[in-house]
């Protein structure tokens, strides 16, 4: 905060404005705990020595409704989460859980062995294990001398 200002020395609102701006900028960083207004599902990607592991929080899915595919190093998970069947729209007192179709695409950082893919679903968490493709051996390229 400047102690002395040329021009309008008695403009208290300028400082107030700046202070409010600064506080509002801080609000964006404190979204911890407000989990339901974000992308669904939330995913984490972990790297192990020989594999990548993707975990996604997708509670309450029937595994027949869960679709996990991989194409050109891009992993796609999609499905639909249905609202509780017996509840009418006007019966809700509170509705914070996500319902509806969802899809996430995750680009993998490295080549993977598409045959060694494995997906497990337990306690509402999907876990996809992807084996890294073995690094291809360096290949010598012969240089031909021009005429």
């Amino acid at each position: 905060m400047p102690i002395f200002r040329w021009g309008q020395p008695w403009d208290p609102f300028l400082d107030l404005e700046r202070e409010v701006d600064r506080l509002l900028q801080g609000v964006n960083l404190t979204l911890h705990g407000v989990r339901f207004s974000r992308r669904f599902p939330q995913v984490n990607l972990l790297e192990l020595d020989d594999s990548y592991v993707l975990t996604a929080e997708i509670p309450g899915i029937d595994i027949s409704q869960l679709d996990v595919t991989i194409a050109s190093n891009c992993l796609t998970i999609k499905g639909t989460r249905l609202p509780p069947g017996e509840a009418g729209e006007d019966a809700f007192r509170r509705q914070e859980r996500f319902h509806g179709p969802w899809q996430r695409k995750i680009q993998l950082p490295d080549r993977i062995n598409e045959d060694g893919m494995r997906a497990d679903y337990s306690a509402g968490v999907l876990r996809v294990t992807l084996l890294k493709a073995p690094a291809s051996a360096a290949r010598q390229i012969k240089v031909n001398e021009g005429p």
Binding site: H32, G33, V34, R35, F36, R38, R39, Q42, V43, N44, L45, L46, E47, L48, D49, Y52, V53, T55, E57, I58, P59, G60, I61, D62, P83, P84, E86, A87, G88, A91, F92, R93, R94, Q95, E96, R97, F98, I106, P109, Y121, S122, A123, G124, V125
Partner: protein
Amino acid sequence: MTESPDRTQPHESTSLIPAPENATGEPRLLFNPPIDIYETPDGLVLYADLPGVDSEGLDLQVQNNRLTLFGRVTTDVPASAQMLHQEYHIGDFLRSFILSDEVDHDRIQAKLTNGVLRVELPRAPRAKPRRIEVSGG
């Protein structure tokens, strides 16, 4: 039912809930799980998303008209794993609700399936009028 049981006190700890700590003694994160509450002819039904919580890690209790749910999340991520991309953090779930007097506490039923908790809060049968005998003096 006039009063909705929606007053939440997410981070209040009660003595019945173990102090949340992990193996290294650091406090674990606590999250407020998203919920749905809807009315049925028999009472209220509550759904809560608790991904990563199994039936052993779930603690559901009613005390003094307060329904508290606590879910301990278990993960088996190897320590050598390196996080490349993180959208969610691992932590436990805690949320509590004030139940209205119309909920029959003895008939509350809960079921945990695929990380979703469903709690049935049946309405208590209406109290029958009771005749009070007046004895003549």
